[in-house]
Structures are given as C-alpha cells and as structure tokens.
Symmetry: C2
Subunit: 267 residues, 2 copies
C-alpha cells in the first residue's frame, strides 16, 4: 500500500513486543466486561499520539495468562521513532504491562497471520506447599508428578496431528503441526514448552491438563494417543488453569526486535 494516492499515505505501522502480568486482565483482546491488554495499549497510544487506533495482536491470551513476548501492531501518522514509542508507551501503560521493544514494519504486516512460530510455556509448581512468590505465576500441584512419564507422552504429541481432543470447540480444520512439546523438570517445578506455527483455542492448557493427569498415574500414554487417533472436541479433559501460562515469543521472517535475551525468552 506504500505509495498509494489514498488519504493515509503518511501512515506507518509500528510493531511492539509486549510483556505483561495477565492476572488483572480479562484477556489480551478488547472485552466489554473487563480490562484488556488491547484497551490498555490503545489508551496509551492515544495518550502518546492523540490518535485512536486499533491494535492487532499475534495471539489471543485468556484472562490471567501472561506474556513475555506478545506482538501487537498498529498504524500511526505519528513521527515518533521506535525508541520514543517504547519510552512513551511505557510512561502511560500500567505497571503490569510494558513495551519491551518496538519496530517500524511494513504497512501490510499482520502479527497474527504472518507469524511463523509461537512458543508457549506452562509453569507448574510441584512442591508440597503453595508458594506465595509463585502465586498467579504458576499452577500449584501439590501431589508429586512423574515428570519422566509426562515427557515421554509429550514427545508422542509432537508432529502433525488432528488436535481437536486437546482444544476447545473450534470451527474449521483442527490439524496442526506441534514442532515441540517438551517437559522440563527441576528444583520442584515442571515446565511444559510447546512450539507451533499456530495453535487451536486453549490447546496448551488443554494439553497440560491431561499431561498432569498422566503425571499422577490416573491415565496412560496410550489414552493420549487414542485422543489423537479419534479426535473429538475437548475429549482430553479440562484445561489447566490460566495463571501458569506464558506466551513466550512469536517469530516472523525478517523481524528482529533486537533484544539480547531474545523475544522475552530469558525469563
């Protein structure tokens, strides 16, 4: 669209890398009945530039879900530099949301459709007693989990499958390619990392739920395989709670937010 003779030839598109503590929000996207990351970002953009914009997000995160590297983008006629967007938006954003980095991108950039890869992390605190410093940051599972069994089952979910059983209701194709599904245990905590170009709704939390059932010994690995073989919406059982889930990063061809610690991956 650059070079168009239309009314907005001076518009630019800015992409921002967002970190947030999702505890106080109804989710990433605008909602009528509660504060959202989107509305906070759009309000901060308005305060900074006096423009009313609509921000597009790479991934929808539910109420209580966190992000280390969510990507959002918006059009603006402002002449502020990317660095000025970072400091200016952080001045106006609440303390539980921050812009880690910003870039000027092509006008046609779509953070959702152009994403090559999304990495989610799910954190389980598997110590006997709840941890005050981990509250709202991980799922406290007091009973010991068999992390090695969880890892074996997780590896079996990798690859191209119909994941309908591990997702909420979804209209459309439910085949996805899970590039990585890894269970990492250590120091009383268990982390599940899942990477794919795209996920079904609630897919990460609806995968962690049955993996934890398996870690308790309540279900066997062949049950998970059967859910892959006979896909049926939500068959694999309830989702793990949202407080343990982090959108870690979203990757794009030729887009680098230039953070030394990656797109939020260090935390």
């Amino acid at each position: 669209m650059n070079g168009d003779a239309g009314a907005r030839t001076d518009g630019r598109r800015i992409a921002v890398l967002l970190e947030y503590d999702g505890t106080a929000y109804s989710g990433s996207q605008y909602q009528e009945n509660g504060p959202s990351i989107q509305s906070e970002l759009e309000t901060a953009i308005h305060k900074l530039t006096s423009e009313t914009v609509r921000a597009a997000f790479a991934g929808r995160t539910d109420a209580g879900v966190h992000a280390l590297g969510q990507v959002a983008s918006f059009e603006t006629t402002s002449r502020l530099t990317a660095a000025e967007f970072v400091s200016g938006l952080n001045h106006f954003l609440p303390e539980d949301i921050a812009v880690r980095s910003a870039l000027e991108v092509a006008r046609e950039f779509d953070p959702r459709r152009h994403a090559n890869s999304r990495l989610y992390r799910y954190r389980i605190d598997n110590r006997a007693v709840r941890s005050p410093l981990e509250r709202n940051r991980s799922w406290h599972v007091a009973r010991p989990l068999d992390a090695a069994a969880m890892q074996r089952a997780a590896a079996g979910l990798e690859g191209k499958h119909d994941f309908a059983s591990f997702a909420g209701p979804f209209e459309g194709r439910t085949e996805r390619t899970l590039r990585r599904c890894e269970v990492i245990a250590g120091g009383g905590s268990i982390t599940v990392e899942m990477e794919a170009q795209a996920f079904l709704p609630h897919q990460v939390r609806r995968t962690v739920g049955p993996l934890v059932e398996l870690g308790f010994g309540r279900i066997e690995e062949k049950m998970l395989m059967a859910w892959l073989d006979e896909p049926r919406a939500s068959a694999a059982g309830p989702a793990a709670p949202s407080c343990g889930l982090y959108l870690v990063s979203v990757a794009y061809d030729g887009l680098d937010f230039g953070l030394e610690d990656g797109n939020g991956q260090s935390a």
Copy 2:
C-alpha cells in the same frame, strides 16, 4: 525449662519456615500502623489453636522485603503435629504468606539468637525496560551496570570489618563478619548474595546501594574500602529499594526443615 514445676509444663515450641511476598506488608514485626507478617502468623495460630501467642522471628524484614526461608517460633499447648501445623496454618494464612515446613524444637529455642548463618539475596533487573513480571520482585536499574567491577568490590567487603558505614544508625558494636558477598550476573539480571551470622540494620540494602553506584562508574572500589577503614553511620549512601531483597535462609545447628530444595534456597 523442660521439667519445670511451673504453670506451662505442657507447652511445646514449634518453629516454622515461612515464605512471603512482602509487598503488601509493613514488615515482618508487629506494627501499629500496618499489617505485618507477625500479626498474620499470630492470627492464623489463634484461628488454628484458639491460643494467643507471641511469635519470635529470626530476622526483621522491612516493608516490601520478601522471604523464602524466614524462621519464626512460638509456644503452644496444642497437640497438633508439625505436619498439621503446616496445613492448618496455610489454610488460615493469606495467599502471600505460607508455612513451608514446621518442626517441634527445644523450649529454649530462640530463632534470632541461635541462628548460625543468614543468607540474603538482592535481585536487580538490569534490562533497559521495566519488566511487569519482575515488578515488586526486583529493583529495575535501566542503565547498564559493570557486574565484574561490582563483584571485585563485593569480594573486598568479605571478612571481619566495622560495617557502620554500610548500615543504618545502630547502638552497639558494628563489627560483623561477612562470610560471603557475591555478585552473580546473567540473563539481564544481577544478583547480590550476602551471608553472615548476623547483619547490621539495613546492611544488605546499604551495601547494594553503593555497589550499584560503583557499577555505574560513579564511585571507585577504593571509596568502599575507605568506608570500611573509617566507619561512620550510613556514610556509604542510601539503601537500595526493599522490593529486591529476599531473606533466603537461616541456619541453625542441628535443625533441618527437611525441604529437598533447602530452606527456600531454590527460588
């Protein structure tokens, strides 16, 4: 006192290992003008046992300071087991305080006087942009710090010295033996760990303050050495903010809370 013919021969002393997020509290000790960890613990003990007790703490922590392994103890005539104290107190404690473990100890046990060693950790987030998930959990220092220079200076503070310059006003001897003062850098964060049998008031935060000034290049290592050589209350400048400080653990001869991850040391 065991075997006394006094009124409370049936009393036992229980020691508890506490984790807390200090953000919402005026400090560990009872205060007239705000909620304290002590008052929350004593209230939970009262709800559990119907007894009104006074809890003694290993170390005073200020408003906003956290603990992974604070130790407190109290007398009780209750017949509850140590495990029942853990689950019962956690039922009544608010979600930002938890008892990680409990032990029956000798009646004469004094968590403050009998401590052999205290380990504190101070966390600095040294990335350019503030981190929402690290808010109230670390001190955000946006300008790059020279962690290697900080580590060299920290090592120079180890040993037996008069630390009056690195403490708030204190009546009494200001010599202490700093067994370890270490600066650990990695992944955008800088951690200062300090270990001693006993510390002066605000000593950790009043050591981190000048170490950060040194990390900026504003003062030199010889300045820190001069403050050791010519002790003068608070000479080394202001304290680092409380939100970055954690009481990690307190060690006693012959007392083991039996946690696999140590007395809170894993977090």
